[in-house]
């Protein structure tokens, strides 16, 4: 189940990152399960969704600060010094929304789950732990020329696929 879903989200991440920010993912880890907390690379955006048969899920992109700054620079065509600026965080949040929208559209059209997105949240800081309370998730670490990125999804409830 998770393998199929993970592939959808990783493919969407790869294509949207390229289209929005012109950045390539050059290497990906194999998917691995995370049952507890994990250390953030520095900038995280989370989006939740829910659909038919009590299916619920959440999708996290967790990005190193250097990669986040490059993404923001490329999207806005201007340099941003501080990733904590509202406009910079908005870019990361919007990218998360766009990736999740793209992936959920594919899932809805192919698996009829009727998933709907909630607005994303985003935060940035050093030594932050992302708590995975009550939800086992699957993670893929993506490498780019500008830094690393975790792609993390968790689903619960219903027969997903």
């Amino acid at each position: 189940m998770y393998k199929k879903l993970m592939d959808v989200f990783v493919n969407s991440t790869e294509s949207i990152l390229k289209e929005m920010a012109d950045i390539d993912i050059i290497k990906k880890s194999a998917p691995f399960t995370i049952e507890e907390d994990f250390n953030s690379f520095g900038v995280s955006s989370t989006i939740t969704f829910a659909g038919n048969n009590s299916t619920k899920g959440r999708f996290i992109i967790d990005i190193s600060e250097s990669l986040a700054l490059e993404i923001v620079k490329n999207i806005l065509s201007q340099n941003v010094d501080n990733i904590k600026e509202r406009l910079a965080l908005s870019c990361i949040s919007e990218m998360n929304n766009t990736i999740a929208g793209d992936a959920n559209t594919y899932i809805n059209n192919n698996f009829n789950l009727g998933l709907r997105l909630a607005p994303p949240i985003v935060f940035a800081g050093k030594n932050i732990k992302v708590a995975n309370a009550k939800l086992e998730s699957v993670n893929v670490v993506c490498e780019t020329s500008f830094g690393n990125m975790n792609v993390n999804i968790g689903f619960t409830g219903g027969e997903v696929i």
Binding site: I16, E19, M20, I75, L76, R86, L87, S90, C91, S93, E94, N97, T98, A100, G101, D102, N104, T105, N108, N109, G114, R116, L117, A118, P119
Partner: protein, 121 residues
């Protein structure tokens, strides 16, 4: 000069749309962060075109579109969406949306959408 209202909860989308539209000579007459604010600004600024997001807090874009359509049949509404599945498309068209603009988009896609909507009349 065409007047445009932007309704979206993303600062990035506001910044990108406003920059692109004003560079091309359009007037952004209002900027709203959710559907409810969008309806209020629609009344006060009288736009020719509305760029409307779907997923927003307080009131979503489909609900806001329905309410605006009850008041005005002429204004053109371009739906900005990260989701493009069949159900969303049907609901949006039923609410009175004229055109979809799928995220992500760039300046060229924004301007093409305006040209396309002009052709529809």
């Amino acid at each position: 000069m065409k007047k445009i209202l932007i309704v979206d909860d993303s600062l990035m989308i506001h910044t990108m749309l406003k920059k692109t539209l004003e560079n091309q000579g359009y007037k952004v007459c209002g900027e709203a962060k959710n559907g409810k604010e969008g309806i209020e600004l629609f009344e006060s600024c009288g736009p020719d075109i509305i760029f409307m997001d779907i997923t927003m807090p307080v009131m979503d874009g489909i609900e806001a579109t329905k309410i605006i359509r009850e008041k005005n049949k002429e204004v053109k509404i371009i739906m900005l969406t990260a989701m493009g599945d069949d159900e969303i498309c049907c609901k949006s068209i039923g609410a009175g949306v004229d055109l979809f603009l799928k995220k992500p988009f760039n300046a060229q896609k924004i301007l093409n959408a305006i040209l396309e909507i002009d052709k529809v009349g």
